[in-house]
Symmetry: C2
Subunit: 370 residues, 2 copies
Amino acid sequence: MFLKRQQRLAHLIQEKHFDALALNAGPSLTYFTGLHFHLMERPVVLLFMPGNEPVLILPELERAKLDQVTYPLKSFVYPENPAQWPNVFSQASQSIELTGKNIGVEPQQLRLLEYNYLTSAAEKGSFSDASGLITSLRAVKDSSEVQYMKKAVQIAQKALKDALKQARIGMAEQELANELVIQLLKHGSEPHLPFSPIVSAGPNGANPHAQPSKRKLEVGDLLIVDWGASYNGYASDLTRTFGVGKVDEKYQHIHHIVHQANAAGREAARPGAACEDIDKAARTVIEDAGYGPFFCHRTGHGIGMECHEEPYIRGDNQQILQAGMTFTVEPGIYLPGENGVRIEDDVLIVKDGVESLSDFPREMHVIEEI
Amino acid sequence: MFLKRQQRLAHLIQEKHFDALALNAGPSLTYFTGLHFHLMERPVVLLFMPGNEPVLILPELERAKLDQVTYPLKSFVYPENPAQWPNVFSQASQSIELTGKNIGVEPQQLRLLEYNYLTSAAEKGSFSDASGLITSLRAVKDSSEVQYMKKAVQIAQKALKDALKQARIGMAEQELANELVIQLLKHGSEPHLPFSPIVSAGPNGANPHAQPSKRKLEVGDLLIVDWGASYNGYASDLTRTFGVGKVDEKYQHIHHIVHQANAAGREAARPGAACEDIDKAARTVIEDAGYGPFFCHRTGHGIGMECHEEPYIRGDNQQILQAGMTFTVEPGIYLPGENGVRIEDDVLIVKDGVESLSDFPREMHVIEEI
């Protein structure tokens, strides 16, 4: 599988007139090699040049990870002392004659740390953005990737169902968030979640990126839960909004609007549609209801090994959707100082339309007083 | 508190002849501002120039986080469309006249993404490594930071104690890792753990950075558990090694050696000692026992907001320890294809010596057949 991905990558590198690619620890390196490294103070870099064995620069104490490699790979390991690292980068670079070459990188992943080692090692090398060619491969999921994502969605849905059994008026956002994480793990999520769940109620919900606080759930709150699981390195990312006890009609109404916007966004998704069409379909529902200014973010983002990746579902993105692409549809309405609503599903573009990977009820479930 | 940290930072920036500092989303930005942002596709950058209000560039949908700010801060928000971002970076840069200035950055944090926006916005600016001045502040913890770290250690210790009640022969590494994460959360860790626990037994333990696998605990295994909790943004990072049923004398012996090396490392720690002294003290015990080549990593690393930060406890690091510094002491012996041992504590340099924040029993506890 990795060899096949590397062959596709080699083809694209040549087509886009790069000589080589340099990837640091992160999802793309894992996608092409199957190897997992944390982003830390010890740099890990893959140098990939068509026609050559891939070259991996890594710390000595990570060497055992290479035992699982089943394809040709040349490795250069460095010891603990950073004074030795430039030398090892140079040797690796010389082994494929990187000097003066046109090297593609991922600006969103590559740190100055690795970049500085690379520019010193590959004299007169020129570095430019190769994100596009990498994401064009990663954005279209194969059947095993889709299976992992479906499983990540199922784990998340089961976990929320069980966590909600514990939800009660007077419970702190953080308590519910912790319970949800516990349920995610019990249902089989990998410990490294795609993100820490957002549990935000009342005015906190009006901040789309709130962190769970000590604030307790109060009657009349809308309660946003934005959560996801990780399975075999693939993420799910879902949101549902609940009522706490009796909720004002105004807030029931914005929930209804967002529910409709979510459906409109999903319905607009198909092969050949543009990302902007999905955004427009969802946004129009909210604008027509008079809440346009309170939907302050894009309608969604691609999802896979990263929780946010291409394609981005924005009103200015003309990118065309293809079968195999997976992304979120997550319209929202945020009323500062009052409440917020967001409803988010993960969808897969299929040959003749779209499939929602998630089916947790979207209607406003109410958490009642016990 | 944040204003005080900013004043110290301003002082150091001038002392080290920088004009300004540019920090992206990450622990240093949080340390100086109290604001948390995830590292994602939308860049967040703090421009800090002594004599000016700090300048924060951030996405529109993160604006609500600024409500908590109690010190002067100028913000520049950008909308969802990336085509607008260079403009916003330019305005922010112009507001403090960044053109041609000497700007300090953190190569280990700053991505090409932010770097490219910055180099375009600050014409003729020169960027250089300011990690040293930042870490010199962050490495010395104040009393509230120490309290958070102690709490993170206590949570971790209680969690392992409870997780061990579930440990049994025949249990998969992954199962035990999941149970441990659940216990970490139950005991009050923040959901975003400093790292996913390592649970590795038998030959897997011979890889210092193994990921928990489906391999089941077998009689005769050594079992390494490397785990930590997060409290108020501060990490703990501990390791203990257990026996599974009856363990060969050879492996009991290497456990004993590592236990002694851990004690020797901790005992060598005091204000005025160098990092290399701690490494040497621990390493000598292992070398003298004939296992030097099997201790393939440094003796420890600083810990605080990041799980790995300065000071690094390496044999080539002459950095002098000061009261308030916190780091791990974690010698190990790894026998490829057989077993591994590591024993790791978190310690704090105090005025007259060292205090171990962790006190979980270091002797080889044996997991018995039920």
